[in-house]
């Protein structure tokens, strides 16, 4: 009987590495703690020196100022409309296309799928100038629909949904076929409900992307009342620190991140599946 010097678990885990990672985690969180601290401080007090963060008193005045300031709230609503609209659009288009690519036969199916996959390789920069011109022709700048449309063309959703539909056992639609169900009925009543977890994954991922989108809203939404929250916050950064004060800026950052942080806390597992699953497979 041979005795083991090391167990298999011992070989792959290392306490020292864990503590180094924990220390890095503290460095990782420090900037966020700093901003949250500032957001609860009176701006006049911060002007005399930001060490004030480490001592009482704290105040909610920056947050009440945000709720009073009409523009931040309007930007928030714009972001909501764009992100929700884009999410539903992507889910609808990707589910329909993913179903057909994965389960049905039609002429040029393989060719079309390969062309769509090539779409994954096109970065936004390569198309953004032409897109900007096209949206000019149709007067779509500074509209919600103009902010929603471009990302509906992303091939990622189609790619992901095709994978998910392929994973459903073939017997399920074969059973439905025997009941004389139409192709659309099989899709809508039988298969779509089975993809709900996948819908959640893709939906959350799309929502986050839309909420955080920067370049397209920057050039398309040029009127202040059509800004999304991302662009609005960027615009208040340009006259940094002088006008509103660090506390107010900090509170803006916290307020703007609340929706994604809430989504993250509740759906962390889905988000991780979406970002890593899509890439590994």
């Amino acid at each position: 009987m041979k005795t083991l010097r090391y167990s298999p678990e011992h070989l792959t885990s290392n306490r020292r590495l864990f503590w180094i990672a924990a220390a890095l985690g503290i460095i990782m969180m420090a900037p966020v703690a700093w901003i949250i601290g500032l957001s609860f401080k009176d701006n006049a007090e911060l002007l005399r020196g930001t060490e004030a963060v480490f001592s009482l008193p704290y105040t909610l005045v920056n947050y009440t100022n945000i709720l009073k300031s009409s523009s931040v709230f309007g930007w928030f609503m714009n972001s909501m409309i764009v992100a929700v609209g884009q999410t539903f659009g992507v889910l609808l288009l990707s589910s329909l296309a993913g179903y057909a690519f994965a389960r049905l036969e039609f002429p040029f199916r393989k060719t079309l799928f390969i062309i769509v996959l090539f779409g994954l390789a096109v970065p936004e920069q390569a198309v953004i100038i032409a897109r900007h011109q096209m949206f000019n022709w149709f007067d779509l700048h500074n509209t919600h629909i103009g902010l929603i449309l471009p990302n509906l063309s992303s091939a990622f959703g189609v790619f992901l949904m095709t994978q998910f539909f392929r994973a459903i056992p073939k017997e399920i639609d074969e059973a439905a076929m025997l009941d004389n169900a139409s192709t659309f009925r099989i899709f809508w009543k039988v298969l779509l409900p089975l993809t709900l977890p996948a819908q959640a994954t893709l939906g959350i991922f799309t929502f986050l992307q839309a909420w955080n989108d920067y370049w397209w809203p920057l050039i398309s939404a040029t009127k202040a009342d059509m800004y999304t929250l991302t662009i609005g916050i960027a615009s208040s950064q340009t006259n940094f620190a002088q006008s509103e004060g660090l506390g107010f800026l900090g509170a803006q950052a916290v307020f703007a991140s609340l929706p994604v942080v809430i989504v993250y806390i509740f759906f962390q597992r889905h988000i991780v599946t979406a970002v890593s699953g899509g890439a590994v497979k």
Binding site: L4, A21, W34, T50, L149, M177, N212, L249
Partner: protein
Amino acid sequence: MAESYRRSRWSNGLFVVPYLSVFLTLLVFPLGWGIWLSLNKVDLFGGERFIGLKNYARVLSDPIFGQAVKNTVIFVGVSVPTLVILGLFLALALNKTTKGSSFLRGVFFASSILSVTIVTLIWRIVFIPNDGLMSLIFNYFGWQPIGFLSTQGWSLFSVGVATVWWCIGLPMMLFLAALQQIPKDLYEAAALDNATRWRVLTRITLPSIKSTIMLVAVIQVVMQFQLFGQAQLMTNGGPAGSSRPIVMYIYEVGFLRWDIGMGAAASQILFLIILCAAMLQYWISTRKEEADA
């Protein structure tokens, strides 16, 4: 009946029509139109005049573009290895089922969900002279404070710090997913052989996730070449253009100077650079694998 479901039919293709029409109008057409624009002198109020490759010549001979390419290459060259090595380290350290590990995984991934404006807002307030977190720390230790965002040499570095902070979650998660797919019996066999941790890491773990390391590197090269928001918002490309990346050059030429033809040419050049970089990396990795085999 079942036969007709499986048969190839034009009507089945209707399911892909909605997506394909969006795909064609908003991706394929603008891609072609963008290439066409890059070959034209474009007036803002309609009218293009074909001038061949002159826009490309103008971009390539523009010293500002040259500087932007240099900045971007340096940025990619430093940030991508940092993200790969740090991501791999975190994945190795946190590949456990304990509560502490899962909490830390959540911490390191959390920053990836923030928007670029929030990330830059946070880091600007960390880096501002006199009042920033960095100045407080420097003062505490009695060091001379640095104007991180306004000093040549430091500005691009600061943008890089914010970027690594923002992007580290994805490499870590991809490496974790790969580590969990390594068969357990490999480690049991290593334990029987009384292998050391270092040998296990270099002979089993790293070779098993080689393709993921490559994947992460390619994803990050493609992403980091597109650096834009962080630089624009933190340093506005300054001082003296020392942190201006290629995408910011495209933005300035195309949307601030409204030289659409030249902007389109610059964006096609970037597209080409990204494509080549990704393919080069892929080629190197496959060649190495063949050499190993």
